[in-house]
């Protein structure tokens, strides 16, 4: 029999319904695995008691025949989602002891669907990073190793804890957020599936804000079907978030099996970078071939403003972040460093001690680009370019139904390998950022291994609120790739 931690969500759901396993057994197996693999540092906070209580309640409901869609499924929550009564840190010292008196809409929906809370996963501080090395709670270790090497690799970021936890079997699925690739890049680095849905699909209420116009919640799971199951429960209009869309939530899982026959797949020439690793290019070609074999038609398309996406992102996101993070001032909650001076001293001491280097860097960049005399040259221009990038996609989606690209320009790298220069680190997001700027859904699905034996992902982008097509294409790639490699470090 499969170990409880190796089940997919769909399998666990069936096993729970058939009473082949209890929610309690599932929760206990995961708690034990978390304890055993705590060196991965995937979790900031483990909520063992809560998990067992949730599981007991789930078992009772299953016994009464009142199971809900995620009844008894043990999940991890990125520590950016506020959880009532459970410390929520955003992986920052400034919120190191913050216990929210409220529950984020997305996590509340998951609990209302019967999910079991295992704990809060690690991330880059305030979700700013692509390697999960900026966390005030230490870096997360990727459960994958290069063949013949024992060096720790990064899991990607910012949702590195969620991705590592899913890959290492420390939960069946996890919530994550994606501002510039923070779901898709770590999913690609850990051989998991991660979808950033359309902006407005999931409520942002109760999620610690990084860049409000880009932030979007989504799931990381081990299969496309599992991601679809989770996304359905996470989605839906929320009157408490003015940017949440009042549109119906389809049964994403139903789309998974529909195939791609007749779908038009676009391949954007601008995503072919100079000096791109040949195995990334090869994987992309492989993906194209798989989809063609499955009945899709392939079309060359152009997204001419792609090369401006990254610089645009690194103006818009820090600008919004510099304002969003102004509230962490030591006055009302969180860290306060009071050295007896005046109010400005309180701000400086608190924020100086509370924020790490990357967060400080982005606050400075953001403050700069919004400053008098620079606003037009940076922020305003970035907004204009953003509109052009959106228009590129609008044009493209007139002739294709989905777009296929690599998820990342490389596989996972070693801790410290790309930290000499922040710009090199920012390049990790080159394929993922455009979807955030355009608000479009994008999924990363594991499609193969590189020469070092590390997972690589392909990305599928879709029209706004057409996650169903994204899931169809992703499922076709998943089926063709038959990706069954396992990380070296994992439970069971």
């Amino acid at each position: 029999m499969t170990a409880p931690t190796d089940l997919t969500i769909a399998e666990a759901r069936a096993a729970l319904a058939a009473k082949r396993i209890s929610a309690r057994e599932l929760a206990e197996a995961h708690l034990a695995a978390i304890e055993r693999l705590k060196d991965l540092n995937a979790y900031i906070t483990v909520t063992a008691e809560r998990a067992l209580a949730d599981a007991a309640a789930a078992d009772a409901r299953i016994a009464r025949g009142e199971a809900r869609p995620l009844e008894g499924i043990p999940l991890a929550i990125k520590d950016l989602f506020c959880t009532e009564g459970i410390r929520t840190t955003a992986a920052s010292r400034i919120l190191g002891t913050f216990v929210p008196p409220y529950e984020s809409t997305v996590s509340a929906r998951l609990w209302a669907a019967g999910a079991v809370c295992l704990g809060k996963t690690n991330l880059d501080e305030f979700a700013m990073g692509s390697s999960n090395t900026t966390s005030a709670f230490g870096n997360v270790v990727n459960p994958w190793r290069r063949r013949g090497e024992n060096r720790d690799l990064v899991p990607g970021g910012s949702s590195g804890g969620s991705a590592a936890a899913v890959a290492a079997r420390l939960c069946l699925g996890a919530t994550a957020t994606d501002t510039g690739g923070s779901i898709r890049q770590p999913a690609a680095f850990t051989g998991t599936v991660g979808i950033k849905p359309t902006y407005g699909r999931c409520s942002r209420w109760g999620i610690v804000a990084f860049a409000s116009s880009l932030d979007q919640a989504g799931p990381i799971a081990r299969t496309v079907r599992d991601a679809a199951i989770l996304l359905r429960e996470m989605s839906g209009h929320d009157p408490k978030d003015s940017t949440s869309a009042d549109v119906p939530v389809p049964d994403f899982e139903a789309a998974v099996g529909l195939g791609v026959k007749g779908l038009r797949i676009g391949v954007p020439k601008e995503y072919r970078l100079d000096g791109m690793a040949p195995e990334i290019e090869a994987l992309w070609r492989q993906g194209i071939a798989w989809l063609k074999d499955a009945g899709a038609t392939i079309h060359d398309i152009s997204l001419p403003h792609t090369r401006y996406a990254l610089p645009t992102y690194y103006i818009v996101a820090p600008a919004e972040a510099s304002s969003n993070l102004a509230r962490y001032d030591g006055v009302r909650y969180g860290l306060r460093v009071d050295e007896g001076g005046d109010l400005d001293d309180l701000y400086e001491a608190t924020r100086g001690a509370g924020f790490g280097a990357e967060v400080r860097r982005r606050i400075l960049i953001g403050t700069y680009v919004l400053s008098a005399g620079y606003y037009d040259a940076y922020y305003l221009k970035a907004q204009r370019v953003r509109a052009l990038i959106q228009r590129d996609f609008d044009e493209a989606f007139r002739s294709v139904d989905a777009i296929l690209t690599p998820a990342t320009p490389s596989s996972a790298f070693a801790i410290g390998e790309k930290q000499d220069d922040p710009v090199t680190m920012y390049l990790n997001d080159v394929f993922t950022v455009p979807a955030n700027l355009a608000g479009l859904p994008g999924i990363s699905v594991p499609a193969g291994l590189d020469a070092a034996g590390l997972p690589l992902g392909l990305q599928v982008l879709g029209r706004a609120f057409d996650e169903e097509t994204v899931f169809r294409v992703a499922a076709a790639i998943e089926a063709a790739a038959a990706f069954d490699a396992l990380p070296q470090v994992r439970a069971a």
């Binding site: 955003a90 919120l95 929210p100 116009s213 009157p239 978030d241 102004a326 009302r332 008098a372």
Partner: protein, 483 residues
């Protein structure tokens, strides 16, 4: 006549514009469901949104938007179907998010105007540049502890309308009249209570001076002036200061100043208090505010009659003088009271009673027209008693005083005290005969030509009848008896 100030070197004009912050009347704050009542215990009306907790998001309060639209319509202003909220970024302890949500570039209301009434009976039109919605900040209390400041966030997030005038104001009187008229309109509309003492209406005053015929010179902003009187004083004080600067060869620097009402002067704010780069940018948590023209039309259809229109109608329909009409429409409650009394009665008599006896009673009792010692219906019944000759005007004054004291109904007072006037000519003739008999000497004097004694006889007859004789009938009876 143009208002000018005389300097040492000649004549100066004042150029002035007002930025008024008006707290919107609404149950909940602009972007949160927290309550807005004044005077609650500190930090008891604060939601997680107002306190800027992590992950909290603003959601626009539709009623606050409706209030801004009503106000715009009341100012004959253009309502912008598309407007947007921006963030104004600065750090302060009573600004929880580190930014204020405001409408910097695209306000909900554009150009409008206010007609102000001046003491000499003339009017002037002052342009409105814009009205926008924004959040109020909390309150810092620096006097509660020797070394610490206390913060009260009850006000944080309350909706304000910032109403900006054109630089059309030319004298302290006009500024006072502008503020008074604006407050009157806001109160009529029910969009702001206009209470300057509680801070629900605050004014920033932009002042510059110039030689007649010149273009504008550099202006200074005098911030947070909290009464109409202080606004007028601040303008004159600031204008005199600027004239002194110019006349002594200096140059006025654009700056923000505060008015010290005790010393009657303005002083510069510490540079730290306003040296901000606010880094405005569109608030990404909010969608642009798009208005449905049908909704605006509906709000317009339900607007109350505003003071200028009401005053014109009072003159037209009730035949009142311009002055009386203006006095009676000063407050909605006064106008309503007056109309309740005047309806179906002599409108001029009603105006005289309201502006005379009632206002005097309000002054004496310290009560407001909204809570009058004599309800409008009672005063109306009193006037009816005069009209149907049940009592005389003189007795009515007496009855009114008793109504003020006891709150009793005039009909009941007249009955209980037997004040109904006597119209029985037999009783009057008897009283006349009795008075003439008792004053035979005076009758002789009268008959020898001392006409003035007629008034004496009237007084004696009324006295004999305890004041209840119908004055006209008494006169007639006396004339008959003495002829």
């Amino acid at each position: 006549m143009t208002y000018t100030l005389e300097g040492r070197t000649g004549t100066w004009e004042i150029v002035c514009g007002l930025e008024v912050h008006a707290q919107v009347i609404s149950k909940a704050k602009l972007f949160s469901g927290a309550a807005t009542a004044f005077g609650a215990a500190p930090n008891t009306q604060v939601s997680f949104v107002d306190a800027a907790f992590p992950g909290m998001l603003p959601v626009i309060n539709r009623e606050c938007v409706a209030q801004a639209i009503r106000t715009g319509l009341g100012l004959n202003a253009q309502i912008n179907l598309w407007s947007r909220f921006d963030r104004k970024n600065y750090f302060y302890a009573d600004l929880p998010a580190g930014y204020q949500i405001s409408q910097y570039q695209h306000p909900i209301v554009g150009k409008g105007e206010i007609v102000i009434d001046l003491a000499d009976g003339t009017t002037r039109t002052i342009g409105i540049t814009r009205l926008h919605l924004e959040q109020d900040a909390g309150k810092s209390l620096h006097d509660q502890h020797p070394t610490k400041s206390y913060i009260d966030l009850n006000r944080a997030g309350v909706a304000l309308m910032e109403i900006v005038s054109e630089p059309d104001i030319r004298s302290p009187e006009e500024a006072g009249a502008y503020l008074a008229k604006l407050r009157q309109i806001l109160r009529y509309l029910g969009t702001c209570d206009g209470n300057m003492e509680e801070g629900s209406l605050r004014a920033d005053v932009n002042v510059s001076v110039r030689r007649p015929g010149e273009m504008y010179r550099t202006r200074c902003e005098v911030k947070n002036v909290n009464s109409i009187r202080f606004v007028m004083q601040a303008i004159e004080a600031e204008a005199r200061r600027q004239i002194e600067v110019w006349e002594s060869g200096g140059e006025v620097q654009q700056e923000t100043r505060l008015f010290d009402p005790n010393r009657g002067v303005t002083r510069p704010m510490r540079s730290k208090e306003h040296a901000h780069d606010y880094r405005y940018f569109p608030d990404p948590d909010l969608l642009p505010l798009e208005l449905d023209p049908a909704w605006i039309a509906e709000l317009k259809a339900h607007l109350p009659e505003l003071p200028d229109a009401k005053a014109a109608r009072f003159q037209r329909d009730y035949g009142l003088s311009a002055y009386d009409a203006r006095v009676l429409v000063a407050e909605q409650a006064t106008a309503d009271y007056y109309e309740a009394v005047a309806r179906g009665r002599d409108p001029k008599q009603a105006a005289n009673w309201v502006m005379g006896d009632l206002f005097a009673a309000l002054n004496r009792s310290g009560r407001s027209i909204a809570d009058p010692p004599v309800p409008a219906a009672s005063l109306g019944r009193l006037l009816d008693l005069i009209a149907d000759d049940t009592i005389s005007g003189r007795i009515a004054k007496q009855v009114f005083e008793e109504m003020v004291e006891t709150g009793a109904d005039p009909v009941a007072i007249v009955e209980a005290r037997g004040l109904r006037q006597v119209t029985d000519t037999g009783a009057i003739d008897a009283a006349v005969a009795q008075v003439l008999a008792a004053h035979a000497d005076k009758v002789a004097e009268y008959k020898s030509g001392k006409d003035k004694l007629f008034g004496f006889f009237v007084g004696q007859v009324m006295k004999a009848m305890a004041g209840k004789g119908n004055p006209a009938l008494v006169n007639e009876a006396l004339k008959r008896a003495l002829s």
